[in-house]
Symmetry: C2
Subunit: 427 residues, 2 copies
């Protein structure tokens, strides 16, 4: 395909994806009590090989072309969707960082630590155990991989919290800045960072090269500390004139995009994924009218145009039809239960133990339990690196969708409706 | 390259491109009296094979990878930059349409018609003549192409006005809504549309299939008429609640993107390029607080992040080093002079003849004369379709850059400095 063809196809994809998200989102909010973001995930699965590809394979293959023969990597048209999705995600994580109140989390540091520890240790242990249980099944794990690697990988994959999703639900409901919201955001961010470090270790083990893991973990911690101390101090100068006059120029906007991209690129380059860099840069940005000016300019295009591609993208790569037969569905149920108990229940108990009331504790558990499509990123890497098979991939996707679909109705049931108008990040 | 690698490379490209545009733009505005947009074009040439590729070919090849062997189309990394550039361009043309005052142009319709006719007939005749003059040179024209086709193509390529550039200069200076600005915008839009119709004819001739040309010309006119009558009426309903309450939701934003993409896709699909659809949709959108809300949300990300990639992109594909020897430089000078007299002088005289004062007439001539990188699009198509050689391509790029670099200093000289604060589209 020439670039002209790619553009033509891309505009068609934008129309299909945005129109489908709008329609499915409307049904979800009207009849199922779901948030827009969850319905965007569902839209991805509907437009992918699992549903549209099963009923109209030619149309689906035209809209979202498969890998070209003889080519490493994806079809160029899908690579473009991937990059658009990633730009949306990076911008969105930056916005979340921009709203993230570090002071609020430091008041709740004890709670955040115990919830995030529970949210790592319990699901990791269960994932580790399940990997050993099913280790012999070559339809689930690649034969070449060692037992320990398979176990650490599945453990890490169980730890994932849908951090961007959790954040978006909290903002959609307008409770991100409450004590409970901050606790959930802090614990979610920690758990995700930990899971990415575990993934880095798996990749390091499987390549027999430990420096990958040290670079990711050491570099990530160093970047975080530098960004929130020295970086924060240096960045504060950018805001002086805007916070005084309220003016914000095009040149300032370009500077913000530059800094954000540099942070995202750095964390991606050392192996802990661009979202963390973007989030940390957002955290380190100066506040006040300056932050408000940035948010106003980045948010609309991100949330209404770019970000839906992130939630849709991975569904497009998922084929649920691979799970067939009682045995595989048993594995699926075992993994789902382990995921829910290991993450949701463990986090809720940890939150309660650290002093939150039961209602807030179960809400935190529910939110931490949602894997979202963040899970799919770690799964895609596992598939690409030859750790798991397409079948285990599909099973884990089902687990991700089940835990994510649960989140919103359970949230409404436990926490109840939140008055609109308190919403901060969703204008 | 895997998608993960592509994202890593993309973030690096964003940093390099935006940082280079910022630095070169600063020098241009401080020392050369140039606008940001012209310096973005120059940045593209500096980062491309002409300059960076000559001094540091390995670095340049890493940052902006060349075509892969055995693959049709570009390197995936460059395809991504192309799509980002096109998204920026489509959004920007939509914004220009949104500011475009059709009432103002209908008052000046006589002037717009005579300027745009002069801006088509004179350069087309000169381009046509030059093509016959140099027809035998196989280093300029592909041997397979017929004389008439080569002549129509070069004629069309001479007609191009840098419509997005002309618009951006008028907005940067804050004079887009003056009578002169509207006249220039109207004539520029008409000329560009005419040049694209001529291009469609060349492609139709060269493929021996006239239906391509009829589809482009007929479909384009039909779309324009429908959009500005029925479309405008239907779209006006979208604005009712926003124009009353001032509220503008995420869902409304998605609807706008959807309509815009549909228009851009349609005009691209019939062969007259996405920018016209985007511009026409912008023209047809309801005005008032609704249009203001859209502009506020789309403009910052477009101008500060996406659009620079359009101006940089084509420079990346240009190799000025191909023009060597006295003979080729003579051809270059002949083409530049023909371009300047055919377009700039002819349009100025036509504007004067239709009643504009001399100062405004020469300003219009100067602005119409700038080819910008719009020219490069038509040149890239000519190269891809095998009408012209890489050498004539490079010569035409030099012509595009010369006519564009002239525009801003001549504008300042003739029209003088404009008081800032009247700027409408550049917040």
């Amino acid at each position: 395909m020439t670039d002209l063809d790619l553009m033509l196809r891309f505009m068609l994809q934008v129309m299909i994806v945005l129109a489908a998200c709008k329609a499915v989102g409307w049904i979800g909010s009207k009849y199922l009590g779901q948030t827009q973001v969850v319905m965007e995930m569902v839209t991805g699965v509907l437009l992918g090989p699992s549903v549209l590809g099963r009923s109209m394979p030619e149309l689906q293959g035209y809209l979202f072309p498969r890998k070209l023969e003889g080519l490493t990597g994806s079809h160029p048209s899908m690579s473009i969707l991937y990059i658009i999705a990633q730009i949306g995600l990076v911008l969105y994580m930056f916005l979340i960082g921009l709203e993230f109140d570090i002071k609020l989390i430091s008041n709740r540091i004890g709670g955040a630590v115990s919830v995030s520890l529970a949210g790592i240790i319990a699901p990791f242990a269960l994932g580790f155990g399940i990997a050993y249980l099913y280790r012999d099944r070559t339809d689930l794990f690649a034969p070449a991989i060692t037992d320990t690697n398979a176990a650490i990988y599945l453990g890490a994959a169980m730890c994932i919290t849908a951090f961007p999703m959790l954040a978006r639900i909290l903002y959609e409901r307008g409770i991100a800045r409450t004590s409970m919201g901050t606790l959930a955001l802090g614990a979610g961010a920690t758990d995700d960072a930990a899971a990415w470090c575990l993934l880095a270790m798996v990749l390091a083990f499987s390549k027999g090269n430990m420096s990958i893991a040290w670079l990711a973990i050491g570099g990530g911690i160093l970047f975080g500390v530098l960004m929130l101390t020295l970086g924060k101090k240096l960045l504060s100068r950018l805001a002086v004139s805007t916070n005084e006059t309220g003016k914000f120029s095009q040149g300032q906007m370009t500077t913000v995009i530059l800094i954000l991209m540099a942070g995202a690129w750095f964390t991606d380059a050392i192996g802990i994924y661009a979202v963390f860099g973007a989030f940390l840069v957002g955290c380190a940005m100066p506040r006040g009218r300056y932050a408000e000016a940035i948010r106003e300019r980045i948010e609309p295009m991100t949330v209404s145009f770019l970000l839906p591609f992130f939630f849709v993208y991975s569904g497009l790569n998922t084929n649920i039809n691979l799970i067939s037969g009682t045995e595989l569905w048993t594995v699926t149920i075992v993994i789902c239960l382990a995921a829910i108990f290991g993450k949701g229940v463990a986090c809720a108990l940890a939150a309660r133990a650290s002093g939150e009331p039961w209602r807030e504790s179960w809400t935190i558990g529910t939110l931490m339990n949602a894997r979202g499509l963040m899970e799919l990123i770690i799964l895609n890497i596992g598939l690409q690196q030859g750790v798991i098979t397409p079948t285990l991939f599909a099973i884990m996707v089902v687990m991700a969708i089940v835990t994510t679909l649960m989140a919103s109705p359970l949230f409404l049931l436990i926490y109840g409706k939140v008055e609109p108008g308190t919403a901060a990040a969703t204008a």
